[in-house]
């Protein structure tokens, strides 16, 4: 039995500091921190016998983060990321569970692939790696993948997505939603009408027009969002919108929720912070899909996350090898790293301006994504008897992002040299410390 004590932390940043004792993966005691520390004669005799003590004065204690949208690149592109390196990045970013998207090589459209990814995640043990299954075979959008087999496999796949591609055919999407309802699993849609984005590399707007970059119109996303909301309504199924990026999408989701449609949505940290003015440099690091939009969109997304219309933050962590980014902008592969910087970006864009507090951070980075994906032991209240999936956050630890220092194999962060306002002090997965002060602890 392992015992860990976190001292002087404040759950959700609220109330007086407490000491949190974790025995064998479960929170067993939460007691007020004694002034002067344990050596001054604290009331908790078990505390002084802890195997490990994390001195955490000034920190905020949150439920471990859950990322519904991660690309781990294994199998196929291990030069960019592996389950091991991505798990390390997740642990450093405060995550205790991640959903690994299906657009690997080969595609995760069979239980063979999803079980492989799941087993790798288990072997590494830094974070719960839940493989996402493809909705359609080969992500081709034509035939449903064997969703039932994947759901019944050892990976117990609960989330299905062709992310990177849209399930564009309305009949296939309808069937997928209906079939998913029967399995009680969730379809996550990459909303992009492909005919409207042929050749597109940047948000369609004045910036792209001036820079001579082919435009990705908002309507390409919004038309699929409203279509899928209506299909989900008719199918009686749930649908989740990946990486919402436009103000119009926010309004459509608001409308759909008002109608009682079972729709949820995520926003990425980069769509909360960055806009298309970044493209002036033509640096491929800023190419992402959906593209960075205009400042009015980032404002709308922040407001929607604050008021709950957008449910959660998901990183869309997308590592790429250097040669896939250091090239012509239009040739650069879309995607950005996100796991290790997500908290800092959310702190800067949402907490610092007062849009949400730390309980709000817990909601959008842990509680809601765990609820949406049905993870019973994640996103739980910080209470005695709960599984100790926890993140200790230092809200005043400003740090400067250096891609080369991140745990990912790739270094394609859009925040290079940017100073972010908050950092993860420690991450605990079922009571085991997976990361403390940036150092990852392999099992």
């Amino acid at each position: 039995m392992t015992t860990v004590l976190i001292t002087g932390t404040r759950p959700y940043g609220e109330g007086d500091p407490v000491d949190v004792l974790i025995d064998d993966g479960v929170i067993t005691r939460i007691v007020p921190t004694v002034a002067g520390g344990r050596d001054a004669g604290g009331p908790d005799s078990a505390a002084s016998a802890a195997d490990e003590v994390i001195e955490a004065a000034g920190t905020v204690l949150l439920p471990g983060f859950v990322d519904m949208h991660t690309h781990l690149r294994e199998p196929g592109r291990e030069d960019a990321e592996t389950v091991r390196s991505g798990s390390a990045a997740a642990a450093r970013g405060g995550y205790t569970a991640v959903f690994a998207m299906a657009n690997t090589e080969p595609v995760a459209d069979t239980a063979v692939v999803t079980d492989h990814v799941y087993a790798q995640g288990q072997a590494v043990g830094l974070v719960d790696v839940h493989p996402v299954g493809a909705v359609t075979k080969g992500l081709a959008g034509a035939e449903l993948a064997e969703m039932g087999v994947m759901a019944a496999s050892s990976a117990a796949v609960r989330l299905f997505s062709d992310d990177g591609h849209c399930v564009a055919d309305p009949l296939i999407m309808r069937r997928a939603l209906e079939y998913a309802r029967g399995l009680d699993v969730l379809i996550a849609q990459h909303a992009e009408e492909p005919r409207l984005t042929e050749g597109a590399v940047a948000h369609e707007g004045p910036t792209a027009a001036r820079l001579g970059l082919a435009g990705w119109p908002r309507a390409a996303e919004e038309s699929i969002v409203i279509r899928d909301a209506l299909l989900a309504r008719d199918a009686g199924a749930r649908v989740h919108i990946c990486h919402a990026s436009t103000a119009g999408t926010v309004e459509l989701i608001r409308w759909a929720k008002d109608q009682g449609i079972a729709i949820t949505a995520e926003v990425t940290p980069h769509h909360l912070m960055l806009d298309d003015a970044r493209l002036e440099s033509y640096d491929g690091i800023f190419r992402v899909n959906p593209p960075l939009r205009e400042e009015s969109d980032t404002r709308a997304l922040r407001a929607a996350l604050a008021d709950g219309v957008v449910d959660c933050v998901a990183t869309d962590h997308a590592p790429h090898a250097a040669q896939d980014k250091c090239c012509e902008f239009s040739q650069a592969r879309p995607g950005m790293l996100g796991l290790e910087t997500a908290l800092g970006v959310v702190a800067q864009t949402m907490v610092a301006p007062g849009l949400i507090d730390w309980r709000g951070v817990a909601d959008v980075m842990s509680v809601r994504p765990a609820q949406i994906t049905g993870l019973p032991d994640h996103g739980r209240p910080i209470e005695v008897g709960e599984t100790a999936n926890l993140t200790v956050v230092d809200p005043d630890s400003a740090w400067t992002v250096r891609g080369a220092e991140l745990a990912s194999i790739a270094d394609n962060t859009p925040y290079e040299d940017l100073t972010l306002p908050a950092r993860v002090r420690a991450t605990l997965l079922r009571g085991r410390v997976t990361c403390v002060d940036g150092k990852v602890r392999a099992r």
């Binding site: 033509y282 090239c327 012509e328």
Partner: protein
């Protein structure tokens, strides 16, 4: 300024200075049997074209040679990625060989700017080549705009206060972008005329007028710049048919007669006669495509001179 990557890199004064310099080169060569100046002796200029071109490449080559530069043409084929070598590695190689100037044409918007950034990062001794944008994707073609402006100045006696119509495939045209920037900078009144499908989103924020009816604009124009319809960049139907395009936006003989007598007709070439421009219109006294080509050499001489030996283009 070390590079010429965009018209936006220029100020009105530096743009006029380049046009004046081009005029001086033109005068210096006028009537000479042997057109050779010693200006760039010992300098190495490389044209690096990732996209097919006849007139722009030849124009830069002649400009360099008339100034005694060593001009080397690098055939980079199509996309560097499809070739297997990255654009960055190609830039590194050319930098290591020791070019003083890289004249880059590339199908990807922004590629010359990236070459300029990468070679600056690579320069151990701080000496990186000047990079000239010879046309990048749908972005810009600054020397084309300069030669167009020189031609307009020759024909009209000045640019300020003149009304210039740019007609056709604005969306895909780097020539239109550079010209809209330069001509408005020089005080012209620019009107972009195209069907809405070929008009870039936000063009009305460029300090220009946006119009869709060519006939109503023609009588008020001092110059009309016809653009090539870039079928190779088009996906999906931007207009119903070449015939309809020609009927609505082609500069026919009838339309030529709607222009004021003094108006100049420009085309960056290659011209699609019969569609964008009538057969006889292209050869009419108002049409200036050959003068544009001739001015192109003098403008490129001015740009090479200013970047390599004549101080900075921009103050």
């Amino acid at each position: 300024m070390k590079h010429l990557l965009s018209i936006g890199d220029l100020t009105p004064d530096s743009a006029v200075d380049l046009l004046d310099e081009a005029d001086r080169f033109k005068a210096a060569l006028l009537g000479r049997e042997v057109r050779k100046l010693p200006t760039l002796r010992g300098r190495t200029v490389m044209t690096v074209f990732f996209e097919n071109s006849t007139r722009t490449r030849a124009s830069f080559e002649v400009a360099g040679k008339w100034m005694s530069a060593d001009v080397i043409n690098v055939s980079a084929g199509t996309s560097s990625v499809s070739k297997g070598e990255s654009l960055r590695d190609t830039a590194a190689t050319l930098h290591a060989i020791g070019a003083d100037a890289l004249i880059v044409r590339h199908p990807a918007s922004g590629a010359p700017r990236q070459v300029a950034r990468w070679t600056a990062e690579m320069a151990q001794d701080g000496v990186a080549p000047s990079v000239i944008n010879a046309g990048d994707g749908m972005h810009e073609h600054p020397t084309q705009a300069l030669l167009d402006a020189l031609t307009l100045r020759d024909r009209l006696g000045g640019i300020e206060g003149r009304r210039v119509g740019i007609v056709g495939d604005i969306l895909h045209s780097r020539v239109a972008r550079s010209n809209a920037l330069l001509l408005t900078m020089l005080g012209a009144d620019v009107v972009l005329i195209a069907p809405p499908t070929l008009m870039p989103l936000g063009a009305d924020g460029w300090g220009v007028t946006v119009a869709h009816d060519l006939d109503s604009e023609l009588p008020g124009l001092d110059a009309v710049m016809m653009l090539r319809v870039q079928a190779e960049r088009m996906r999906g139907g931007f207009f119903p048919s070449p015939r309809e395009y020609s009927i609505r936006y082609g500069l026919s003989e009838t339309r030529r007669r709607m222009l004021p007598e003094h108006a100049v007709i420009l085309h960056p070439g290659p011209m699609l006669r019969g569609m964008e421009i009538g057969y006889s219109v292209a050869d009419s006294p108002q049409a200036a495509p050959l003068q544009q080509v001739a001015n192109g050499v003098h403008v490129r001489m001015a740009v090479l001179f200013r970047l390599l030996v004549g101080g900075q283009v921009d103050a």
